[in-house]
Symmetry: C2
């Protein structure tokens, strides 16, 4: 520190950071999500921020096709020339880490394995407005060996519905989970004689059902997937169907999909979601139930909570058949939307419930004794360090501290109502 | 997934990962630490995992001299050739991020700014047994503009003592915080006429007071710092002093240090720490109070909780005088020690309180209704999916679920005591 050169710091694009009053709401959200996950018996796991690059490359997961472009690789700044270690990359989702975790610890886990995971993930995309390069995801998955009961497909929407309707600031949001089952479309495509390669193209196009004009999708189904008008008509009938009972299955797979979807819709709480057969998720990874969740007033914002059922979690890492069902809350995208819209209940800048003002000529111990007693009763307490009353009160106001305790008079003031009463720190509660 | 090639995953050296039952205790620890931090009014902040490399280089912080060797730099796997972005590095501590945060958001913060931060940090050291490359630190700091009352120097030990004596599994650990004030030694070196350059050498040597034989330190003080026997004798008298009142100040700085240390010792709870003048922390960064915390039975394990007072948090980022005092719990090192020693209360593999066994011929809704009611009462509940009673009970036992609810009979069984009673889900509590 011999020469003082000021390096003025600035925000790093794509790496969000909140002021304490916003972080406080973020914590409330995290606590609430965790609490609901746990109320359904999901256990927490946390995996390292990194995976070996070979592990990431061995598994596509739910990361999307272009995900290898988005990976951040670590380099030691002063690495040795003889460095023979495996290359490490920050995880870009929590599905690859889960698959690796389950394979690695298979013998130590009890199945069905119900886990939640709330961690940061990283995607090294080019920075652009509204795109995060570091963000939180909150995932749940249930994994079983060989066979996983359909009841878990109905549990995920119930959990998400409970969470989304209880997050502070979300009270007035009109959010809708849309649920489908890929077996229905896949069965139909089988029945229509669509070739394997073209099935992928069809699902990718149907995945854009809400984004692209339907005439354009129909054209692309012709030109890119080689379908004829009759096939396209049947597909559109199904994915536009308003009522499951209007659909008649053309083969066993389609019937299975309809039965599973009916079971799910029958077993979720009222209002937790609607059946929508245009939901397919663009990924081959999903094999049955699929979920997406949108703001009804702004579906173009995209899904804030997606997932589904898959046949094979970790086939690339372990020779076991591990079907599962999972769903992921895009925490940061959801949180930041409400933050920007000014809908978060941002108020207090600190967890402090009470600011204790020391008595005149107090050596500090009197105020400390009061603070200790209040803390033992469960309150969060600070002791004022400013000397003048005016500054002390200004501090409480600026930080949004709801109560001020006057040690001199043994009185406590409610900063919002202005009411001031005598109180005993042993019995008083905020 | 056309060809199935098994890539068997393994642990990555230095990146710890726990099974669910260990992670559960880690969460209990985190919750307890957060709760105590908040009870003293500290607010949470969370900074991005990365800082610009220039920001890290502009500030040494509390990271130690060789820290630039240990930084992990990020590279996008497929970065564009015209990539002109700033280089990003994972943070190696929480002091650099705090300094940058306070400078960047200075106008939006209320001072004294009391913040806690519980995040992962990364150090790209060569892997070796017992060394983490990714680990948690739990830090508190209080920052003020121009002047920070000494009362906060006494608050930090109180908080740490409260935490360390309440973490599950730590009940029988004999832990000692050792507190000193650098002004005492610095004042003495002034009084002894030791040159500036040699002061650094002296503090680095005294920092090894417990690790090296004292004769060796005395020799090095002679050869490396050019001190004579009388100077060395005086230094040893001071750093070995058992009682603060035995020391007489040789100048104002020394007296200031003695007064401050006496205040701190006077204002911490009984048992929260001892004065130990051999504690200096090897870093120029600290200017007053310094803390270290060791296992009394195994001081060679090193400090698990260190910190101190500094004059100037963010002088490299902002033209403000920002003194502070802070302390950092080396969470992962502490936690992993107890884990390896088998002292953590590891039991349940999940948060589930109750496993509900559906009635015979139940379509699932009866069990779901019971589960919903129990959850509304605050219990964490799963529904059994195995069909046979024996498998259901084995699942509860393996996962350590304390209660099993028999929907058929309306009875609940305490798995530990074996007691089974009739119960109403509306009123029953675990």
């Amino acid at each position: 520190m011999s020469k003082k050169q000021i390096y003025k710091p600035k925000a790093i694009s794509g790496f969000p950071e909140w002021l304490p009053e916003v972080r406080r709401v973020e914590q409330l959200w995290m606590d609430q999500i965790r609490s609901v996950f746990e109320s359904y018996g999901y256990c927490s796991i946390e995996t390292p921020s990194v995976e070996e690059l070979d592990v990431i490359n061995a598994k596509g997961g739910d990361g999307g096709a272009d995900v290898d472009k988005e990976v951040y690789v670590l380099e030691r700044l002063h690495k040795d020339d003889d460095d023979k270690e495996a290359r490490l990359a920050l995880h870009f989702d929590q599905t690859v880490p889960l698959a690796r975790y389950v394979a690695q610890h298979f013998n130590d886990l009890t199945f069905p394995f119900k886990r939640y995971q709330m961690q940061k993930v990283w995607r090294g995309e080019r920075p652009q407005a509204g795109r995060f390069r570091e963000f939180y995801q909150c995932d749940i998955d249930v994994i079983n060996v060989d066979n996983l009961p359909i009841l878990f497909d109905a549990e995920a929407p119930a959990i998400i519905w409970e969470i989304l309707s209880s997050l502070p600031g979300m009270e007035n949001e009109n959010i809708q989970m849309r649920i489908s089952n890929r077996k229905i479309l896949m069965g139909l495509l089988d029945a229509l004689g669509v070739a394997e390669d073209n099935k992928v193209i069809v699902t990718r196009l149907i995945d854009k059902f809400e984004k692209l004009p339907h005439d354009q999708i129909k054209n692309l189904l012709k030109t890119d997937a080689g379908l004829n008008d009759e096939q396209i008509g049947k597909i559109f009938d199904i994915v536009s169907a308003k009522n499951l009972s209007d659909i008649s299955a053309e083969n066993d797979l389609m019937q299975e999909g309809l039965d599973e979807l009916s079971y799910v819709m029958d077993n979720i709480p009222d209002g937790a979601g609607i059946a929508d057969l245009s939901i397919v998720r663009g990924l081959d990874y999903y094999t049955g139930t699929v979920y997406e969740t949108v703001f009804v007033d702004d579906p173009s914002y995209g899904s804030i909570c997606s997932g589904g059922r898959y046949d094979d979690l970790a086939g690339n890492y372990i020779n076991k058949n591990l079907p599962g069902v999972g769903i992921s809350i895009g925490f940061s995208r959801l949180f930041d939307r409400l933050r920007i819209q000014g809908k978060l209940p941002v108020s207090r800048k600190c967890p402090t419930d009470v600011l204790v003002l020391p008595a005149r000529d107090d050596d500090g111990k009197g105020a400390q004794e009061i603070a200790r007693t209040l803390r033992a009763g469960g309150a969060n307490v600070e002791i004022a360090t400013a000397k003048k009353l005016q500054k002390q009160m200004a501090y409480a106001e600026k930080k949004g501290i709801p109560y001020v305790w006057f040690a001199e008079d043994g009185e406590v003031k409610n900063m919002e109502s202005g009411e001031q009463i005598s109180a005993d720190p042993k019995s008083w509660k905020p």
